[in-house]
């Protein structure tokens, strides 16, 4: 396939993926907006109003970046894991596998689909947050960089989950038992400075901590983590997961017998 043909193939997957989640917007866009809206009301307004400032920001302002990022993480992941697993389960992944499309294009197409949903939900949640908080963005460049890299990373995570999944249960186990705990323990609702020394050290092995803090820096200009460390870790994860996904696709794991 020449470059033009590859671009058409890539565009086909991305368009298909975006149409897929857009068609079922009531299941894909609305629920995360309601959930995060409740976070703003309960944690931000009701409980947050009783708490003192953190790093010079009200509790509501402090948690907004993390909540937006949490929506992006969950939706990027959910989009790819559900879409790729369905295509595997119903065998229509074979439509792509029999075509001359290189594997990196298949992977990129699904990842960009996940990123699109993550960013769409993230944008809507950000709009909702303006009803509760009045945040000025500290650095648009850092904000966009962390949002896009995080969406890519969790889209890749969803892809790996879908490849290994053998049943619908398998696509909900990782989000329930791994993703949600890591997200909640990733410093969305607190600063790790508030933790005892031991748990501060333990928190450093949680990759979501680096993303939340980089996001918080982009929006508020404060972070528990050095920005270069945070970006280095995010980029390293993206490279490692992308390579691993490609290896799985090339070996045919879970999709070729």
């Amino acid at each position: 396939m020449n470059i033009n043909q590859q671009f058409i193939a890539f565009k086909t997957i991305v368009t298909k993926e975006i149409l897929r989640f857009a068609r079922i917007w009531l299941q894909t866009i609305v629920p995360p907006v309601i959930t995060t809206g409740l976070y703003f009301v309960i944690f931000g307004q009701l409980i947050g109003s009783q708490l003192s400032n953190i790093a010079g920001y009200s509790y509501m302002d402090y948690i907004v970046p993390g909540i937006i990022l949490m929506a992006i993480i969950n939706n990027s992941y959910a989009n790819v894991v559900a879409s790729f697993y369905m295509s595997k389960f119903s065998h229509f992944i074979e439509e792509m596998l029999v075509s001359p499309m290189p594997n990196y294009l298949i992977l990129s197409g699904y990842v960009i689909g996940g990123v699109a949903r993550g960013l769409t939900v993230g944008l809507v949640v950000a709009i909702v947050s303006t009803f509760f908080s009045d945040i000025n963005v500290h650095s648009y460049f850092i904000l966009f960089a962390v949002v896009i890299l995080t969406a890519i990373l969790f889209s890749l995570g969803g892809f790996i989950n879908a490849i290994y999944a053998n049943s619908f249960d398998d696509i909900s186990i990782i989000p329930t038992f791994v993703l949600i705990p890591l997200t909640y323990l990733g410093g969305i609702f607190y600063s790790i400075d508030m933790l005892p020394a031991f748990w501060q050290t333990v928190s450093l092995v949680n990759p979501i901590l680096y993303m939340v803090n980089a996001m918080r820096y982009g929006m508020l200009g404060v972070s528990d983590i050095e920005l270069t460390t945070a970006f280095s870790i995010i980029i390293l994860f993206v490279v490692v997961l992308f390579s691993f996904c490609l290896y799985l696709l090339n070996s045919g794991k879970g999709i070729r017998s």
Binding site: N4, Q6, S90, H91
Partner: protein, 312 residues
């Protein structure tokens, strides 16, 4: 001329230890209409899966129009259109989108893709259903949709794995006509089917796989000419009573006769035996025949013989 398909010493052992293919060799010429037959579990779908790169081979060589799957996978795949046995499209997408998206995966731009989708959906009688989602199509329509999808990138070789399974006779015959036409236009076709009449009607060459090996690979006519005996069922206008007595009871006879009921009997005729002698005998015995038919399809008789006994 390069062969459309060349398979050398192809082996496949699944992780559970099942040996699906045990060293098959095959050659399919360009423009051929080739039948790949065999009982359930013989290895046909595994072979097709390997050719279309949906199944990883254990060892062996596969070349598509001279392009080795191991070294020129993308090029080799670009020549193939696959119609699998199971429905493998997104059941929630409209018919036309399924075809157009498939074209997209081959790098065909949207405008050309829609033109081709229209052409093939019209030829296969599905254009009126273009906005209907996959799950709402009938079984026959789904099969035709998969053919349209496989043709949208205009492949040089079309592989059909039981394309007419569960399809009514009228649609089956219209599909035969369509497949014959595209074969006449130069597309090489490889067909697996359990309807042996279909293989006999359409195919020029044939391979029979049994237990993971090719047990017969020849021209259709050459294979049919190997049929030593053929059995016919005859119905009479009136009761046979004892009119068959003493006819064809001898085991060495070239014409063996077996009464089925009062007005029906079967005649097993050797290739050496002249039909004229049969009619003379019927006339001599004053038997008036109301109908005559072959007991089974000729290829079916050969197939059963080959599978059960391994040779003719």
């Amino acid at each position: 001329m390069t062969n459309a398909l060349e398979i050398q010493d192809l082996h496949k052992t699944y992780k559970n230890g099942v040996q699906a293919l045990r060293g098959i060799h095959l050659e399919v010429k360009q423009g051929d209409f080739f039948a790949l037959l065999g009982p359930n579990g013989a290895g046909k779908s595994t072979a097709i899966g390997i050719i279309s790169s949906l199944v990883n081979k254990s060892s062996g060589k596969v070349k598509i129009f001279g392009h080795d799957l191991d070294h020129e996978l993308e090029k080799a795949k670009s020549f193939i259109g696959l119609v699998p046995q199971e429905f493998n499209f997104n059941q929630f997408e409209p018919t036309v989108e399924i075809v157009v998206n498939q074209a997209g995966y081959y790098g065909i731009n949207r405008k050309v893709a829609y033109q081709r989708a229209e052409k093939y959906l019209k030829q296969l009688g599905l254009w009126e259903k273009r906005f209907v989602i996959g799950r709402e199509l009938s079984g026959g329509m789904k099969r035709r949709l998969m053919i349209a999808r496989a043709l949208v990138h205009e492949p040089r070789m079309l592989i059909l794995d039981e394309p007419t399974a569960g399809v009514d006779i009228e649609i089956r015959r219209s599909m035969w006509k369509f497949l014959k036409e595209i074969n006449e236009q130069g597309t090489t076709i490889i067909l697996t089917t359990h309807y042996l009449e279909e293989a006999e009607t359409l195919c020029k060459n044939i391979a029979i796989i049994s237990d993971g090996i090719v047990i017969e690979n020849t021209g259709m006519q050459a294979l049919l000419s190997k049929l030593h005996v053929e059995t016919f069922v005859l119905n009479t206008e009136e009761s046979l009573q004892d009119k068959l007595q003493g006819w064809g009871n001898d085991s060495s006879s070239e014409c063996k006769v077996k009464q089925v009921d009062d007005i029906t009997f079967e005649v097993e005729i050797s290739r050496k035996y002249s039909f004229n002698n049969l009619f003379i005998e019927l006339d001599k015995r004053n038997i008036n025949i109301s109908s005559l038919r072959s007991k089974s399809n000729r290829l079916e008789e050969l197939f059963v013989h080959l599978i059960e006994e391994g040779s003719l």
